[in-house]
């Protein structure tokens, strides 16, 4: 596990007038399960948007290794507007991510990929159910399945467990951990739930205002996170 997939070098970012972080250095290894922890508003989502290249660094660099093309990012965003009347079935929702030039309907190989990923994420039995009527945990699994559809090698989960009950949290992360281990999928798991991070992550990156820390997850001691450990 020495190969890097993503390097942050003196990375800095500011929204027009508001500095979010400066001098951030991190070397993300291939196959790692990294937890990014920190209070609300410290810039976790901002960092993810930099990785997605939706935002540009205002200082330093963010580079993918061995090159940009080699890294395909799958992102499960923190917020999604799926209400209870949302009509699409879980299967159709997952298949949306086959947005590429082609016939309007999915071909055989694409349909096979959709059902493989539904099986992998344990959604196969409820694949025809409208997503709007799925439970919170099932919804998150569907978002995960959609992000995994086009086979990313870097998966980002942004607070995906925040609204889930303990059982659904465990179920989702067990699934992610399994794929992480079996397929060498690099995972960035953004959370403010420290115990959960301890349970699943290999490493951590702890952001707080004007300061950050990183290391193996065992080093994420209580005095470091201070009063954050109530989550």
């Amino acid at each position: 596990m020495t190969e890097s997939i993503l390097k942050l070098n003196q990375l800095a970012f500011a929204y027009s007038d508001k500095q979010v972080f400066t001098n951030l250095n991190y070397d993300l290894k291939k196959g790692d399960f990294l937890s990014i922890v920190g209070e609300n508003g410290v810039g976790k989502t901002t960092l993810m948007r930099l990785i997605l290249q939706e935002l540009k660094p205002t200082g330093g660099t963010l580079s993918f290794l061995p090159n940009r093309q080699a890294v395909k990012v799958g992102y499960v965003p923190q917020f999604r507007n799926i209400d209870s009347e949302y009509p699409l079935s879980i299967q159709d929702f997952v298949g949306l991510n086959f947005a590429r030039v082609g016939l309007p309907w999915l071909n055989r190989a694409e349909r096979k990929r959709v059902s493989d990923i539904l099986a992998e994420t344990k959604l196969i039995q409820m694949r025809h159910r409208p997503l709007g009527q799925a439970s919170g945990g099932e919804k998150q699994k569907a978002y995960l399945a959609q992000a995994l559809l086009d086979q990313p090698n870097l998966l980002i989960l942004d607070e995906s467990t925040a609204s889930l009950d303990p059982i659904a949290k465990t179920e989702l992360l067990d699934l992610v951990k399994q794929i992480n281990q079996e397929q060498q999928l690099t995972v960035i798991f953004v959370t403010h739930d420290i115990p959960l991070a301890r349970r699943y992550a290999d490493d951590y990156l702890f952001l707080s205002a004007g300061h950050y820390e990183a290391g193996p997850i065992a080093a994420l001691t209580n005095e470091k996170v201070g009063d954050m450990d109530h989550a």
Partner: protein, 263 residues
């Protein structure tokens, strides 16, 4: 009834309109654009009136106005709170202009009611040909961008995160919508065009759970509305848009009842 050329034209045009509206309607509903569609039809009215004033085919005036404004709305972008109000303002302006152009053009009143409320007898073979061409453009472009449009319409956040060209897509969609509004207004009239572009798709949402099926159901509902409406209008001599409105509203409410029963 179908031995009359005007009824043949009306049925041909109506069938096209129903198909286009059913397809586009599914995306209108998914993108929450019912309100904007309504406004586009009012802009279409102004355009048609302008066309008459200039001595053109009303359809050409309509195309001009709706296309320009759809691109303008795309440029207004995602600032949604401001968008609603701007749209209301544009709407008001459009209706005002429409009334002005109609009064400046010394045309008779039946021309005006034709534009506003639609008509069966007003459709010539040449209109039908132009409508076929416009519908073909809408269908071909839609087929081409279908997968992207589907993703962006049914999961805008997911599409953006995957790096889809969502801005361009929404402008293309608005232009297609402008074409559809102009085509559909030929029969149902600009005042009621949003019926076909919203109600069948809004009802379809309760019966179908894939985009393809929703399109199928929406097209069926709008075809039935147009075909039955044209027939009843021929028999009773009442306006066709009245019947289409009633039929589509019935479809919509039965969908709501169906949903209630299922739950």
């Amino acid at each position: 009834m179908l031995s009359y050329p005007f009824m043949q034209n009306a049925y041909m045009a109506g069938t096209l309109i129903a198909i286009i509206s059913g397809i586009m309607g599914v995306f209108v509903i998914a993108r929450n654009m019912s309100f904007l569609t309504h406004t586009l039809s009012e802009i279409g009215f102004a355009g048609a009136a302008f066309g008459i004033f200039m001595g053109w085919q009303p359809l050409n005036g309509m195309l001009l106005f709706t296309t320009i404004s759809s691109i303008g709305v795309g440029e207004l972008g995602a600032k949604s709170s401001r968008r609603e109000n701007s749209i209301t303002a544009i709407s008001a302006l459009a209706i005002g202009l429409g009334i002005l152009f109609l009064s400046l053009a010394d045309s008779n009143a039946s021309y005006a009611t034709g534009i506003l409320f639609g008509s069966v007898i007003g459709i010539s073979r040449q209109n039908v040909i132009q409508m076929v061409a416009l519908s073909a453009v809408v269908l071909i472009v839609t087929a081409f961008i279908y997968r992207f449009l589907k993703f962006d319409s049914f999961d805008a956040i997911g599409a953006r995160v995957e790096g889809l060209w969502t801005r361009t897509l929404s402008v293309i969609f608005l232009v297609l919508l402008a074409f559809s509004v102009s085509v559909a207004a030929q029969i149902v009239g600009s005042l009621l065009i949003f019926i076909l572009l919203t109600l069948p798709a809004a009802a379809a949402k309760y019966y179908a759970h894939t985009v393809g099926m929703m399109i199928g159901v929406a097209v069926t509902f709008s075809l039935l509305g147009v075909w039955i409406g044209l027939y009843l209008s021929y028999v009773t001599n009442w306006p066709v848009s009245f019947f289409i409105a009633v039929i589509e509203v019935l479809f919509y409410f039965s969908a709501l009842i169906f949903q209630r029963l299922k739950a």
